[in-house]
Symmetry: C2
Subunit: 317 residues, 2 copies
């Protein structure tokens, strides 16, 4: 980052470099078009590249080699896209990153194989990095799968409480962001203690991020989010909003559920019963925990990550 560039310019630079590298991962278009065309389509989607950005910011705080960070950044973005392509099938989501999801544009077999390919390309992007990176990457990939399993289990299960929900998003999202921040720093030679703290930063930021994702699924803007809203309601997902609503007044909430499945009704209920406000507070408190993880680092190491946390908290998209 040059002295004169702003944080936003720096983020955009990382995003554009990531896009450029991603566009080069499918050179073998002379091979199976059935396999490579959807992969090419996915990596050209309007993803925000928030995970590679975290890898780079964390790694830059420890002067990690740019080439190593790019390898890891591409790997985490591909891992993320793999899970999205497969989750979209499982959840029957029709839009993703501003375009039809793969199984909608093609079909389920095509999307299954495209996801498999993205995951394999993620592994290959790690070639040349330390064995520890490879191990942690896949440990977290397994947790992401476990989290998705819990998410599917929780559908239609109205006994899920806050602890169960936090455990689920902890696996599905938070430990993924924790891994991005941890391994970026590890590539720069961070100490074990520093790695633990910077993992916590990513982890709690991830909790805040996922809670906000549930929140935006109801209170977001369909166009700028580039996906259809309300699918959590259609799928009967146990979102943080539903769990908080149940906690505040279980009778009221159960009565409400018997009456309607309309998107607007849910939105009004959450607003007028204090659910929206409590979830907003929950997001902020997790961001604070994340920043506590950062407070163990020196100021010059944490300044960019602090800004990144704000970016996550204030995103409107």
């Amino acid at each position: 980052m040059s002295a004169t560039s702003t944080f936003e310019e720096h983020i955009q630079f990382i995003q554009s470099q990531t896009d450029k590298a991603l566009s080069k991962i499918t050179p073998k278009l002379n091979s199976s078009k059935y396999f490579y065309n959807p992969i090419h389509y996915v990596v050209k989607g309007r993803g925000k590249r928030l995970r590679p950005v975290l890898v780079h910011l964390s790694g830059q705080a420890y002067d990690a080699q740019p080439d190593d960070l790019m390898k890891l950044g591409i790997a985490v973005e591909l891992l993320h896209n793999f899970s999205l392509v497969h989750d979209d099938i499982m959840d029957n989501d029709s839009m993703r990153h501003g375009q039809p999801s793969v199984h909608y544009k093609w079909d389920i077999p095509t999307a299954i194989l495209a996801g498999d390919g993205l995951f394999t390309l993620a592994q290959l992007s790690l070639v040349g990095l330390d064995n520890y990176i490879f191990q942690r990457f896949n440990e977290v990939a397994l947790e992401v799968c476990e989290g998705q399993g819990m998410d599917k289990e929780f559908e239609n299960d109205h006994s899920i409480d806050m602890d169960g929900y936090i455990q689920m998003i902890g696996k599905k999202t938070a430990c993924f962001l924790g891994m991005c921040s941890e391994l970026g720093a590890v590539l720069g030679g961070a100490s074990e203690e520093e790695a633990v703290n910077i993992y916590k930063f990513g982890y709690f930021l991830g909790l805040a991020f996922q809670i906000k994702d549930d929140y935006l699924e109801i209170f977001g803007n369909e166009e700028s989010m580039g996906k259809s809203l309300g699918s959590d309601i259609d799928e009967n997902k146990q979102t943080i909003l539903a769990i908080v609503a149940r906690k505040i007044n279980v009778k009221d909430w159960d009565n409400f559920l018997k009456k309607t499945r309309k998107f607007e009704d849910y939105k009004n209920y959450y607003e007028s019963n204090g659910v929206k406000k409590e979830v907003e507070n929950l997001i902020e408190s997790n961001v604070e925990k994340a920043l506590t993880g950062l407070s163990m680092l020196s100021d010059d190491r944490s300044v960019q990550l602090n800004k990144y946390a704000n970016l996550i908290l204030n995103r409107e998209f």
Copy 2:
């Protein structure tokens, strides 16, 4: 292998040790049952463990460490099962290894996630092995995906010739067996030249194996194969039998296709028009090429692999 045990006993020993190790890879049953139960179900299926057996035989020829071979053996078996679970969805196969396929027993989302988990556990089984093993493993995993893509492209495409077919099964099956034999030997410190030759052994054996698989899909025994026969016909797959039939007499074959889709009719056609015989010859010629790959090795190194090739050639299941 002790001096008194037979080859068959030795194979059975490797299979049982592999089964034992596989049964231990899903210890976290207190975590998501949605995720782990189907994985447990898959690894308990009646798989023949032919890929781990090849890893062990090849590695033992070079005195590789048993622990390393077990890690790699488990990884290749999990990779194989991952691809089967996902391919069964794509091809709508209802039986696998003597039991209902995962998406038949549960549903498609469950089977997608189980496959993802098997793939991730395969990666984790490689932890501690050399970076080169990890790289080759994933290069081949990508080829397996490419091969599956070609296989799907070839459905309903009656212009596929022998070259296209061999390229497809080369990626989908042959390079996988090539990798098993190569990396087993590499774990034992085989030279680069030896690794190339032993890869060729596995590769051509893989071609023979896959051609025989197409062959058994028509001429095998449903009960002992543990899966339903004839699904290639239902899916309109371009099998080696269809390609040879077209090559022998395209007019005759086209007329036949207009008349029937019955399994027994196909069987009779292949038998009475010389297709069966030509495919049998093709299997044998590829086994001979495989043995040429072995001929570069010393006798004591190749003896077990020679027996393994015979096992593949003569399997009736």
